[in-house]
Amino acid sequence: MDEMIIAILRSSTPLIYVTLAGVLAQRTGIWNLGLEGLMIIGACATVLGIAITGSFLQGFLLAVGLCVAASVLLWFVIERLKANQIIAGLGLTGLGLGGTAFAVEAYMGSQVAVTVSSGAPKAGPVLGAFGVLSIFVLLMPVVVLGLWVLLKCTRFGLQLAACGEHAFAARSVGADPSRIRLIALAAGGVLCAAGGAELATGSLQLFAQNMTAGRGFMAFAAVIFGAGHPVWSTFAALFFAVAGVLGIRVQLTFGDNIPHGLLQTLPYLATILGVWVSGKLRGGAKAATLTEEQSDV
């Protein structure tokens, strides 16, 4: 049972951090389809940073710096150049996937998988079997709760939500929607760096091309599934992780009797079902509309 819980926590934690980044963006009225790109930049930069400096902390700080820079670039393209946010987000994903392959080739001389001897700090023996979990897993509930409090109970959180729902109204009370979106996207960059770092160094200590394998898009789905609420979106991400882990269990248990191809689709079917149920029950995430007021910001 412990191993199952550990597997779910390991699987869900990167997804949850990136989901929270998507929640922040969605609250300000931006559908961030660049999550996949930001996540892989975080994973790659952490591992390359460790390879260069020998320090996890410095590797992670490099990842944070690059993810924030990429998020600011996204903000600039959307807010200043008035680009379509969906296309800009997909462009950022392409930049992340291609850029990390280029970075690895530039640093290593070929497109090898980069392995490092140390990864994210672990909880240690004090947690028994759970001591193999990284600090990112331990901090994850704190971050979720903190974000919920920020959005629910602080002036900034309310301003942030107002930007997404009615930018004109937010401006009328002195909030600057463009500046708030910049802050939200930059904070999302930090969260994506954490998600990428956990994926690459939480238990693996390596970076391989495209290793995010669509997790950024799963996180985007979790934002929709959770209606843009930090806690519900976290549960959505957790649900996807559980579906993935149970999908493996089903393969191992029923693989002799049911086609593997069908079994492998179960987590994705669960995702579609979950999003559909969410849409029915909660109305889904409110559409992030670029209203005329926002477009004119």
Binding site: E3, M4, A7, R10, S11, P14, W31, K82, A83, N84, Q85, I86, A101, V104, S110, Q111, V112, A113, V114, T115, V132, L199, S203, L204, Q205, L206, A208, Q209, N210, M211, A213, G244, V245, I248, R249, Q251, L252, G255, P259, H260, G261, Q264, A287, A288, T289, L290, T291, E292, S295
Partner: protein
């Protein structure tokens, strides 16, 4: 999302400008990529490797790139390696290379069969090599296909695994359930049951060849079920499988490439080696020579230097003594089966159904 209609001329100008900007960017990207050399028409001698899995797998793709570089250095030709991630782009990439006057285009796996069939006849001066592909039907005069009897190596791994496993539980983790990988699993199972009919063999597929985290999740569940020997068949996903094996002593992995030994000195006990690099080196050398015969199919298997079941020397040095002792005892059975396959007295079924 609401899209604001373009009412004024200013808005129209902005849209036009953006389109031009994007077109310009796309053109600049093509030029910057070097896919189309500025001297395209004069690029005779260009050898291109279009790989459909990402490099960095410490396996087939890395091996091919390495051997192509080596051959280019030896023979002095120009080469390109191109990662074709999206199947929708295969045909475009091949046409671009044909237009660029490439002498030889090498690509991998069955997914390029149809693009080859569509493009190769239009570029008769270019020689096309498909590694890990079935024979073309009908044959195309400037295409050579190469297939590998990898499943025979998996059969030997099954014999070995059944003899070194204490639990009598063997696992197989593939990238995607496709016919060749299904055949590898069935051969592994046949090998296991040939020496231990009571042993169980369990298969799982990660759904990707580039997802180490998923590989780790699957392997962890397999190991927690008591499986103690896993044959991998999943390229970069293998890294996660090896990482899971490294967490507890006594877990064994049989991988794909010698480069994986160092990732698990006390867990990667063996490999079913398929040296795509050697194969590419051989086929490109042949294609650049005068005696190249297009429209043919090459089949390689055990005993050719391309496919072998090999024990890890690192594991022999650093692995647990009891497992190494069992490995030593198992090796004679493996060698006997290999000899029987080569002399034709043992036939391993090629079964692609799960």
């Amino acid at each position: 999302m609401q899209i604001k209609p373009a009412h004024g001329s200013k808005q129209v100008q902005l849209t036009t400008s953006r389109r031009r900007f994007m077109q310009g960017s796309a053109g600049a990207a093509m030029l910057a990529s070097g896919l189309i050399p500025a001297t395209a028409g004069a690029a005779s001698g260009l050898v291109a490797l279009v790989h459909t899995q990402a490099a960095g797998d410490a396996g087939p793709v890395d091996s091919m790139i390495s051997k192509l570089k080596l051959l280019a250095d030896e023979q002095g030709f120009q080469y390109r390696t191109i990662y074709a991630q999206d199947p929708a782009t295969y045909e475009t990439i091949f046409r671009t290379l044909g237009d660029a006057g490439a002498s030889v285009v090498v690509s991998t796996f069955n997914e390029v069969t149809e693009p080859f069939q569509a493009v190769a006849p239009h570029y008769p001066e270019t020689k096309w090599v498909q590694l890990f592909g079935d024979p073309m039907d009908p044959p195309i005069s400037n295409v050579v296909t190469v297939s590998y009897d990898y499943y025979l190596g998996c059969y030997l791994s099954g014999i070995f695994g059944a003899k070194v496993s204490e639990a009598g539980k063997i696992g197989f983790i593939g990238g995607i359930s496709i016919p060749p990988l299904n055949a590898d699993f069935n051969a592994l199972k046949a090998g296991v049951q040939s020496v231990n009919p009571d042993a169980t063999v369990t298969a799982a597929f990660a759904g990707s060849f580039q997802d180490p985290a998923k590989g780790q999740e699957i392997a962890t569940q397999m190991f927690s079920d008591g499986i103690d020997y896993i044959q991998t068949d999943a390229a970069a996903t293998d890294f996660g499988i090896i990482a899971a094996a490294n967490e507890v002593e006594g877990r064994m992995v049989s991988a794909l490439d010698p480069a994986q030994y160092s990732h698990g000195p006390t867990s990667v006990i063996s490999i079913v080696g398929l040296d795509f690099g050697v194969s590419l080196y051989s086929e490109v050398s042949s294609a650049l020579g005068d005696a190249w015969a297009g429209g043919t199919h090459v089949n390689t298997g055990l005993g050719t230097g391309v496919i072998e079941f090999i024990r890890s020397p690192l594991y022999a040095d650093q692995g647990p003594d009891d497992i190494n002792a069992r490995s030593d005892a198992a090796w004679s059975a493996v060698q006997a089966a290999r000899a029987a396959i080569l002399d034709g007295s043992l036939t391993v079924p090629f079964n692609t159904e799960l």
